[in-house]
């Protein structure tokens, strides 16, 4: 098993984008294209590649513990979890922004310079805390697991920190983006030991992919 390369990929669109990119350097997995499959692990025995479909937030964990050698995950998740991993490639897809947003009415007479003791709802408590701490603003963090835009509408918090890609969801809920914390794209991550113990195969993958990635970032919808 040790000469296999295992990928951890987030289920959904990013997995499709990743496989499309990997396909260009000949890494394929016909097993994955079977219709209606509910499998979570796919193999290409001939090329000795294995692919695991996992939740995006779990990708860094699988790679950190070495269950997967390589993973693809959004920079947002990496920033939030701060794990000890290599991030050799910015794949440039899955573009969005991690941003502070607030209701339109609030924005009208709001000056970020006056913020203090604000309540912020977010899926990203660590990034949010670091961001506001760096600006010298005390925040009360409210960790939510989804539908963050709801929080200001029902008075749970004044502001939110969340991913924004086209801005459609914010607009529909009467919110505006006020500050950008970070620009997010998908990253190729590699387990530290794997990069050393399987450096030939992994270098080939990194060197193969690097020239294929353009300068343009892509939104993955």
């Amino acid at each position: 098993m040790n000469d296999w390369i295992t990928f951890a990929l987030p289920k959904g669109r990013i997995m499709q984008d990743s496989m499309e990119l990997f396909g260009k350097i000949g890494i394929t997995c016909p097993e994955m294209d079977e219709k209606g499959t509910r499998k979570l692990v796919f193999e290409n025995r001939e090329q000795k590649y294995r692919f695991m479909a996992v939740r995006a937030t779990d990708v860094p964990t699988y790679v950190e513990y070495g269950c997967a050698d390589i993973g693809v995950v959004g920079k947002d998740t990496l920033l939030e979890q701060g794990k000890d991993l290599y991030e050799p490639l910015d794949l440039k897809f899955g573009y969005c922004r991690l941003a502070v947003a607030e209701p339109k009415e609030l924005q009208a007479d709001d000056d970020p310079a006056n913020w203090s003791n604000i309540r912020v709802a977010t899926k990203y408590p660590n990034v949010t805390e670091r961001y506001f701490a760096a600006k010298g603003i005390q925040v009360e963090l409210i960790k939510l697991y989804g539908s963050i835009e709801l929080a200001p509408l029902v008075g749970l918090s004044e502001r939110i920190v969340d991913l924004v890609s086209t801005g459609g969801t914010l607009k529909a809920n009467g919110m505006v983006e006020v500050e950008t914390i970070a620009e997010i794209t998908s990253r190729l991550i590699v387990n530290r030991a794997s990069l050393k113990t399987k450096h030939k195969r992994i270098s080939e993958i990194i060197d193969g992919l690097e020239p294929l990635i353009g300068d343009e970032v892509k939104i993955s919808q």
């Binding site: 513990y65 000890d84 991030e87 490639l89 910015d90 050393k196 113990t197």
Partner: protein, 428 residues
Amino acid sequence: MRFTDTTPEAALPKGVKDFLPLKAAKGEFLQQQLRQVFSAWGFRPVIPPQLEFVDELDKSLGDDLRERAFRFDDRQSGRLVAFPPDMTPQVARIVATRMKEAPLPLRLCYSGRVLRHAEEQAGKDRDIFQTGVELIGLDSPEADAEMIAMAVECLSAVGAQQFTIDIGQVDFFRGVMDGVPLTGILAGQVAAAIDRKDSSELQTLLQTIDIDDRTREEILALPRLFGGCDVLNIAEKTVRNDRSRRALDNLSHVLKTLDVYGVLEHITLDLGELRGLNYHTGITFQGFLPGIGRAVCSGGRYDNLTEQYGYQVPATGFTFDVLNLLFALDKNLDKQVSLGSDALIFASGSDLQPAQKLAQVLRRQGLSVARDIYDRSLQEAREYARKVNFNTLLVVNGEQDEVQIIRLNDATEEFKPYNALLTEQFKI
């Protein structure tokens, strides 16, 4: 079953563990194997203390480790004391303050535990088992190679099949960065991006700095300078500055010696590896096993450490993180470590003396033997012996009777005269 939140309070602080017999036996085995290799290469043990004065310790600890030491005040002296977070600075202190007159080179080894505050993430140990060596008084590439060849031998001795020793040279990095106007947060960000091998972030960061294209190219090459020994050639073409070139020269000498030792198949290079930048001054290296992202051993050259205690002498060394090693090799060790004892001796009659005497004789023969002192049935004793991993159960009646030998792994039995067991070497 219902989940309740009335679970009893956790018995231990986070980051520390109890080791029950099966795990403890494996940990013990690993330390023994390592110490055996150390001794075979002529290293002699030292035992540093578990408490040090903070101001003494701080002289040689890097910022990172300094913050991670457990410190408190000493009621006896009124001074601040700390549990050492690393044993290398302790050995450096011992050499500089107590062994100045000793002839060089000094080959010293140690095996002990240190405490460190860990980041709050789950699974990080705070109680760290360090077993390692320091080679003091030599600054030649041969000394660096000796450390790496020993680390390879250690990994073979503990039964690791596939492993890599990844070598770096911090002076290569320092040479590239010399004269680059970087300070404070930005310097930290650049180092972190190189450490993560994050080329795109590095590129973005460098755009804000005023440097010439040549230097920019050198810095941008750092995240990709890893792999087999051919990295050396690529690096030679990439850098121009003298310091980095000297570092490469040193590295190539080390590799030549490693070739003689016949261990090159386990070697990889990584010139963008910055771990250990705190007190290392030349070659650094880390040992990796497939599947575990943390290094199982790490080491390197630290020529400035003893100087902090007033004695300037070059030094190099490495240490194994025994818990990481145990985590990586846990399953392999099942075969290598004998987890049980040889024999349990059960007295079937009321006269206990023959059983006691046999136990003592077998122990003198070098076997691990326990008496089943409880007053219980043979069936119960047999069940106990099986569960506690005894290889055999010996049922002793009287000195004139035969002893029943029950082998617990395959349940075969045989009988032998009591006196024969006393005189012959008993085989399990």
